[in-house]
């Protein structure tokens, strides 16, 4: 299967080994990336994709193994050597300096200067514009990173690599933050790049995108190269099966009972919320969710979702408008009061807001309910009751490892951590469950499990607000799909009457400015 070392290949890695502590991340990994191709590296979370690319880019060092670029052995000790060898990398979490301008971010480390190290901004601007025009990477060079969209930030990252003359471009989960249309643009940029006999490596766990973008796909599982396949002659199911390691039905059984919605649980009317900078982030927004309904809020990150959710749980103040839970106004009260009124939330950032990683699973399982008589009496915790409660959740939700109530939460995998939060929030029997990015960073099986739980709760008659940046997830789960753009809900669709294309256009702000709130 392995090819000979040859200059036909942009990258060849041989017998790469890497461990963190006792955990083996990469296990004698081999890969051949042909010049002029778009090569996908597909694998679940934790399979070692990003570590592999970090080794190629010199961010971390392999324990052993060799890397050949264009047929020549290269020791990539640090990023400087990688850049010198014309490798560029766009990280999943962008490496941009928020309060620098786009131009400053691009030139950093590779500045064009006059005498005495004085920056030559004019010349740099000219050079960057040349590249951005060629690849149609539209950016505003003088804007600060903190003020531009995520899509533009990604274009800045790509420009950073091209400005340094990259011939090999590594894209780590590039589409995770993009709207469908931005994804199409990105793929066409990658294709343009590859057509110049340059090379693109895309790391991803999204099966459906590989088909449209890549030529070749290497599947990585538990640090091993499982197979390298020609995309055109391989079906999605085949890819999925190889990635997960067992046969797999991609289509989720919806298990959706017929939509019979109950009374209105959440009713938001003309809500206005300011963000931290004092700019209106939620604008005159209205919608309602009924019992037994999942309302999906589709939109690109940063369009007011965060502020909306925070306002509902009274984490921040609403400027005007009303939020009602079962007819009772709760806006601008306290988080405690919101919980008392039957609202539960699964935060986007489970490590920061959902869990205390250095506490045990049992302690984490009672965070919203520790005040109950059952768990604490006159301020003293009843550890026995807490543990038996936690064990019950662990069993019901199949949290691994078994009987882990005494374990520190940080020792569980991301999927199991997420299950703890969801189990905890559902156990408090809320009327309204808010879930933000519930499957972010979870592998396929864990994500499916979470989706199944949500569906089950919906069928039981809970109202669920689903906020996600993954349109596919929203479409899969929601009864009502709403599109939020720039703080307003642009349009709402029902489960059996929507067009994915139209949603994509609306998410990117290409919609008519029809105000949905009127008919709410």
């Amino acid at each position: 299967m392995l090819s000979r070392i040859s200059s036909k290949f942009a990258v060849q890695m041989r017998e790469i080994e890497k461990s963190f502590g006792f955990q083996k991340i990469l296990n004698s990994f081999n890969i051949d990336v042909e010049k002029g191709s778009i090569h996908a590296v597909l694998g679940e979370n934790g399979a070692g994709k990003t570590t592999l690319m970090n080794i190629l880019y010199g961010i971390c060092k392999a324990d052993s193994g060799k890397i050949f670029l264009n047929g020549k052995l290269v020791n990539i000790k640090n990023s400087r050597i990688a850049i010198k060898n014309k490798i560029g990398m766009v990280h999943q979490h962008f490496m941009l300096i928020e309060n620098f301008t786009v131009l400053e971010n691009i030139i950093l480390g590779n500045e064009i200067t006059k005498k005495f190290g004085i920056l030559d901004i004019k010349k740099a601007r000219y050079q960057i514009l040349e590249i951005s025009n060629k690849y149609k990477l539209n950016v505003d060079l003088d804007a600060k990173i903190e003020n531009i969209s995520v899509g533009m930030q990604q274009r800045v990252e790509i420009l950073k690599s091209l400005y340094r003359g990259a011939d090999i471009l590594i894209l780590d989960e590039p589409t995770a933050v993009l709207t469908p249309n931005e994804t199409i643009d990105l793929i066409s940029t990658a294709k343009e790049f590859a057509s110049e006999n340059k090379t693109v490596v895309i790391i991803t766990h999204k099966l459906n995108e590989i088909k449209s973008s890549s030529d070749v796909c290497t599947i990585i599982k538990a640090g091993k190269n499982i197979d390298t396949l020609n995309i055109r002659s391989t079906s999605q199911e085949e890819l999925a099966t190889k990635m997960v390691g067992r046969t797999f039905a991609l289509a989720v059984e919806k298990n959706r009972t017929k939509a019979e919605f109950g009374e209105t649980v959440l009713k938001i009317k003309n809500l206005n919320v300011e963000n931290k900078k004092g700019i209106l982030a939620v604008k005159n927004l209205s919608f309602k969710i009924r019992a037994g309904e999942i309302l999906g809020l589709a939109g690109v990150d940063g369009n007011g979702q965060k502020e909306l959710v925070e306002a509902i749980i009274c984490g921040i103040k609403s400027k005007s408008g009303s939020i009602e839970i079962c007819g009772k106004q709760i806006q601008n009260t306290s988080v405690q009061n919101v919980i008392k009124n039957g609202v539960s939330i699964v935060h986007e950032d489970r490590k920061k807001l959902g869990l205390i990683l250095d506490f045990t699973v049992a302690e984490n399982s009672i965070f919203s309910t520790y005040n109950l008589k059952l768990f604490s009496n006159k301020g003293i915790l009843n550890m026995k009751a807490i543990h038996s409660f936690a064990e019950k959740l662990i069993e019901n939700y199949n949290i691994k490892p078994q009987k882990c109530s005494e374990y520190l939460t940080k020792n569980l995998s991301g999927g199991n951590q997420q299950k703890i939060i969801i189990a905890r929030e559902i156990a408090s029997n809320p009327k309204l469950l808010i879930v933000v990015q519930p499957t972010r960073g979870l592998d396929i099986s864990a994500a499916l499990y979470v989706e199944k739980i949500l569906m089950k709760e919906r069928n039981k008659g809970k109202a669920i607000l689903l906020v996600s940046f993954e349109l596919d997830e929203i479409i899969k789960l929601s009864d009502t799909i709403t599109v939020i753009y720039n703080g307003s809900i642009i349009k709402a669709f029902t489960q059996n009457n929507f067009s994915k294309n139209e949603i994509g256009v609306l998410m990117a702000g290409g919609g008519r400015t029809e105000n949905y709130s009127k008919d709410a």
Binding site: Y57, I59, R80, I83, I97, F100, E104, L108, G109, G117
Partner: protein, 302 residues
């Protein structure tokens, strides 16, 4: 009129040392290393500058040695907090103890067991020279040369930070060292350099106290100016000119204290608290300050 001019003159006189030190703080903290140790570096600089001047009678050489001694002390901070990833606050506090400790130890050793140096006979010059033939008006405005040097340095450091590639890199490693590293910038080396430069500037700050104002090094030469400089740096939002004007403000409060001290309606002891009181007040009203994002976090490579 005269007291007005003298307030200006005293303001400039007392703010100059603060400006040197605050600029040092700007460099260090812009690169991501908190420098609480400025006070210790100032004491060190003040002592070695005075010592040098006592024995060579050359204040300029003293000024230089003061800076160098400050940067040597900063070297410890660089090694501990940049390369060995020690807590920057603790390391800085340690310097504030070591700096004066060493200074007074050597002071005793070199000046017959005294806790003060001999007074220097040759101070740093004033801008119009040391002659007294100029008018009273000009005499009041005949400020120390350090006042001018401080202003020039402020401009130089502003230019360095915002107009040169090195400045761009310094600001980058203070905001997002991981990103800078991914672009091939040697974060640790650059941070260490910044800390050392910061020590040099703080050393100059200390020197300018004894070489222009007090003409002798003793236990009260440096009493909290390092911390006021730190406050000025925060008040000035980590920018060179911000720090410059904040230092002028604190110098002004000192001038007020001295000026009102002559009238005897407020206890002079209370009045001498004025600069420190203003420091607190200023920090209370500075609002949410915008410190460099990675300031205070040691950089570890994955």
């Amino acid at each position: 009129m005269n007291s007005f001019l003298s307030i200006i003159s005293i303001t400039l006189m007392y703010s100059a040392p603060l400006i040197f030190s605050a600029l040092g703080g700007v460099i260090s903290e812009r690169s991501g290393v908190i420098n609480i140790g400025i006070e210790g570096m100032m004491v060190t600089g003040a002592f070695w500058a005075t010592f040098t001047c006592c024995f060579t009678n050359n204040p300029w050489l003293g000024f230089l040695i003061g800076g160098i001694s400050g940067s040597l002390l900063a070297l410890f901070h660089a090694i501990a907090s940049v390369f060995l990833k020690a807590d920057q606050t603790i390391s800085g506090v340690a310097l504030n103890l070591i700096g004066p400790g060493l200074a007074f130890f050597f002071c005793g050793l070199l000046f017959d067991g005294k806790t003060a140096t001999n007074p220097i006979t040759n101070k740093l010059p004033k801008i119009f020279g040391n002659n007294n033939f100029i008018s009273e008006f000009m005499g009041v405005l005949n400020v120390d040369i350090t006042v001018v040097i401080a202003l020039i340095l402020t401009f130089v450091i502003w230019f360095f930070l915002y107009k040169t590639k090195w400045g761009l890199r310094v600001r980058a490693i203070g905001e997002h060292p991981v990103a800078a590293d991914a672009l091939g910038i040697n974060v640790l080396k650059l941070r260490a350099l910044c800390v050392i430069v910061s020590g040099f500037l703080a050393g100059l700050g200390g020197s300018s106290v004894t070489l222009t104002i007090s003409s002798q090094f003793n236990q009260t030469s440096i009493s909290g100016q390092g911390f006021i400089a730190l406050a000025a740096l925060i008040f000035g939002k980590w920018t060179p000119f911000g720090a410059y004007f904040a230092c002028l403000f604190f110098g002004f409060s000192q001038a007020l204290a001295i000026n009102f001290g002559g009238y005897n309606f407020i206890s002079p002891t209370l009045l001498s608290c004025l600069p420190y009181f203003f420091t607190l007040l200023a920090l209370m009203f500075v609002g949410k300050s915008v410190s460099p994002k990675s300031n205070g976090i040691p950089y570890k490579k994955a």
